[in-house]
């Protein structure tokens, strides 16, 4: 197991090699896909990518937090968080260790 980190540049390189776009356009498209997903979530809509997983939103209510250093109580404002649920296809891929 290699334990490297895949980045935008690696994905863009794959598009360049597999789809035949220019390197610049490959990089732009990786960005467009991520932007489209992010903007949809910001707009309050969930995103479902079949055989990969789904990104949904959860609203968290206001709660009281505490500054760990000073012990002062501070209200934590209500916020939205993204929840990712992997599809079975993705989970299966991750667990098949080429056995």
């Amino acid at each position: 197991m290699a334990n490297r980190t895949l980045t935008r540049a690696d994905i863009a390189e794959a598009l360049y090699e597999q789809v035949g776009l220019s390197r610049n356009e490959s990089a732009d498209l990786v960005e467009s896909v991520l932007d489209e997903i992010a903007q949809t979530l910001v707009g309050g809509e969930a995103v479902k990518i079949s055989s990969f997983g789904s990104f949904s939103l959860r609203e968290k209510g206001e709660r009281v937090g505490r500054n760990p250093k000073t012990g002062v109580e501070v209200p934590i404002s209500p916020r939205k968080v993204v929840v990712f649920r992997a599809s079975h296809v993705l989970k299966d891929h991750i667990n098949e260790k080429g056995a």
Binding site: A2, T5, T7, I11, V33, I49, F52, S77, R79, H93
Partner: protein, 97 residues
């Protein structure tokens, strides 16, 4: 939004590309992420988020209905952590900070 709607929207914004190319692009992106996770790598998309794989050890579980013991195999699970920029954008206009 589903994957086909994502492909549709991208295709409208990139009229110079064939629909089948946009499909190939979207599929390739998620295949690359899947492949990296399957080989135990992390995927870091700064501003958007990071995907990683966590190991769960084998354990003895219990059937909650019958109370019977069952062994649960070790497994690997994908995780996603939202990036800072996206987290902030989701909560813009919520005030306080």
């Amino acid at each position: 939004m589903t994957k086909s709607e994502l492909i549709q929207r991208l295709s409208e914004k990139n009229p110079h590309l064939y629909l089948r190319d946009v499909e190939k692009i979207v599929d390739t992106i998620f295949e690359e992420i899947t492949r990296a996770l399957a080989s135990g790598d992390r995927v870091e998309l700064r501003g958007f988020g990071a995907f990683s794989v966590k190991e769960r050890e084998a354990r003895t579980g219990r059937n909650p209905r019958t109370g019977e013991k069952v062994s649960v195999d070790a497994k690997r699970l994908p995780f996603f952590k939202t990036g800072k920029a996206l987290r902030e954008k989701l909560n813009e206009g919520h005030g306080s900070r």
